[in-house]
């Protein structure tokens, strides 16, 4: 990476983290929402963008994480942020159980099944499954999280929690993208048969992507529960899944900068034009159609992978 780029990559987040003191509560809260959706979309990006698995039920895993946090916090008074790993674990486990039998389904079939799973989870939450989800009203009274002795209350506090989580997510997912797993996923997305022919266990890698993505959404669920202190099934409807999906597709499937841009545009822009709030979904719909026709790869598509070739020796042509 060139020096200039390094400086840019360090300066931009630095400036961003200096923003909150200059913004009022409302806009900081908007940034928090953008951050939450950015992490959700990044986790979905692993499934949709990298593995090419159409998942339209991502809100289900988000819900599992949020409800894990809410139930354990309200019943056993475990500090909510301590539950982050456990929320990831339950969401990941749930995804594993769900995905294991359906992972071989082809594109659009998988899409339909994940919609079905999302709906079943939502209906289960409304019906107060096992008597612990609080039915249609949801769960309230989740305690405020505290970090290093500071109780997080205002949007300004949560800004740092959420955006540091975004930063960690970007860093880890960037590493994952350039790892063996990332390459395997991209390979099987491009050509499943060829990937399998080259010794990639496609079912295994698809499952890895699905479970890791879901676990990450579960952890975001925890943050969401901590931020809202009240959760209900309404927050995990099909439209949440569609929103995350739209962010990934419009921003650029498989590209971290694309997904970030998508989150800012899709979650942030409607806040700037509140008078058109009703037409928001209408514009998304039209944008999705137009995007597929004119720019299938999204606004900021991933750059093709580059590999450094070993320096050519004297007298050897580069062809």
């Amino acid at each position: 990476m060139s020096r200039k780029k390094t400086i840019l990559y360090l300066a931009l987040p630095g400036l961003f983290f200096l923003l909150p003191p200059f913004l009022n509560t409302y806009w900081v809260d908007v940034l928090n929402n953008i951050g939450i959706y950015a992490i959700l979309a990044l986790s979905l990006n692993l499934i949709v963008g990298h593995a090419g698995l159409f998942n339209l039920g991502h809100a289900a895993f988000y819900a599992v994480g949020a409800y894990t946090a809410a139930i354990l916090n309200t019943h056993f008074h475990i500090p909510v942020l301590w539950l982050i790993p456990l929320c990831g674990l339950t969401a990941g486990l749930f995804a594993l159980i769900i995905a294991r039998p359906i992972i071989h389904l082809r594109g659009d079939y998988l899409c339909i099944v994940t919609i079905g799973v999302g709906e079943i989870v939502r209906i289960a939450l409304i019906n107060n499954v096992f008597g612990i989800t609080g039915g249609a009203n949801g769960i309230f009274g989740i305690s405020r999280p505290s970090l290093f002795g500071v109780v997080l209350r205002t949007p300004h506090h949560f800004f740092y929690l959420i955006w540091i989580f975004v930063g960690i997510t970007i860093f880890l997912f960037h590493l994952l993208e350039y790892s063996r797993v990332g390459r395997a996923l991209n390979y099987l997305r491009e050509d499943e048969v060829a990937a399998e022919g080259n010794g990639i266990n496609t079912a295994y890698f698809k499952l890895v992507a699905f479970v890791v993505g879901a676990a990450w959404a579960g952890m975001v669920g925890n943050i969401y529960a901590a931020k809202m202190t009240i959760i209900s099934p309404e927050s995990f409807s099909f439209w949440e899944s569609v929103l995350m999906f739209a962010i990934v597709i419009l921003g650029g499937a498989g590209s971290i900068p694309g997904v970030l841009l998508g989150s800012f545009l899709i979650v942030g822009l409607p806040e700037a034009f509140r008078e058109f709030a009703n037409a928001r979904m209408l514009i998304f719909g039209a944008a999705m159609v137009l995007m597929m026709i004119f720019r299938t790869q999204g606004l900021l598509p991933p750059k093709p992978r580059t590999y450094d070739l070993p320096e050519a020796r004297e007298g050897e042509g580069r062809g």
Binding site: H104, D108, Y109, I115, G116, I123, I126, L282, G285, M292
Partner: protein, 301 residues
Amino acid sequence: MEQFFQQLTNGLAVGGIYALIALGYTMVYGVLKLINFAHADLFTLGAYLGLTLLTSMALTNHLGPLWGTLVLALMVMGLIGLVGALLDRVAYRPLRSSPRLSAVVSALGASIFLQNTVMLVYGARFQVYPQNILPTAAIDLGGLSVPVVRFLVLATSLIMMGGLYLFIQKTKIGTAIRAAAIDQEAARLMGIDVNRVILMVFLVGPALGGLAGLMVGLYYGQINFTMGWGYGLKAFTAAILGGIGNIPGAMVGGLLLGLIEAMGAAYISMAWKDAIAFCVLIVILIARPTGLLGERVAEKV
């Protein structure tokens, strides 16, 4: 026993509606191998257009309930058919040669667009159909009183299904549709205008979906802009249940799913009624992805 027969007739009526919507999914899937997500919203649009035409033109006042409803149904079918054809022209046709998943995303986008158009035009609240159109009488079946409407709904769907079956099996364009569904390229080489076939599919499928929307409005009395989502997903489940791409399969699947759901609501749990259909969907995709009437095809799923 009485509950059983009530649920049986109710399930068959609802199943008939599912079957009508499922036909649209299955026809489009048969020819284009595309899940037309927007089909559900054409169904919703049918219900709303029906309401608008009904209240603004007062057809049933001028022509009487029977002819009025018939003319209304034909108008809704025609209009929704045209919207379907337009949808194909705008959202799907430019993507014919793109990867299939691009078309799926476009279908999703079109669905969101249509649903929100309905919301912006008609508002987000429930709209109520006039209640004086369909007969409210009940038939006495050996001590069991069953509303006539259920039979009307079932009969209408059966007639439409029968008509469609004859259309597909006996007419020239129906034969062309079947040919294009088997192998588009070969059909093209045999001199079939595949674009015309696709246009036909997008006229007929949505027309049936629009009719189903009108029927739901008349049968249940109230409609909402999000209702297409539930009906659409269930109808799609019905199409998969019968074997997607298979027209008699969609009919059987629709009726069967209506029955399963009605029985499940009565004997298992009312609150879990909506989840039952999705469980059926998941089980059938895991156990027998080609559906009940679909033939085994290796590359189907």
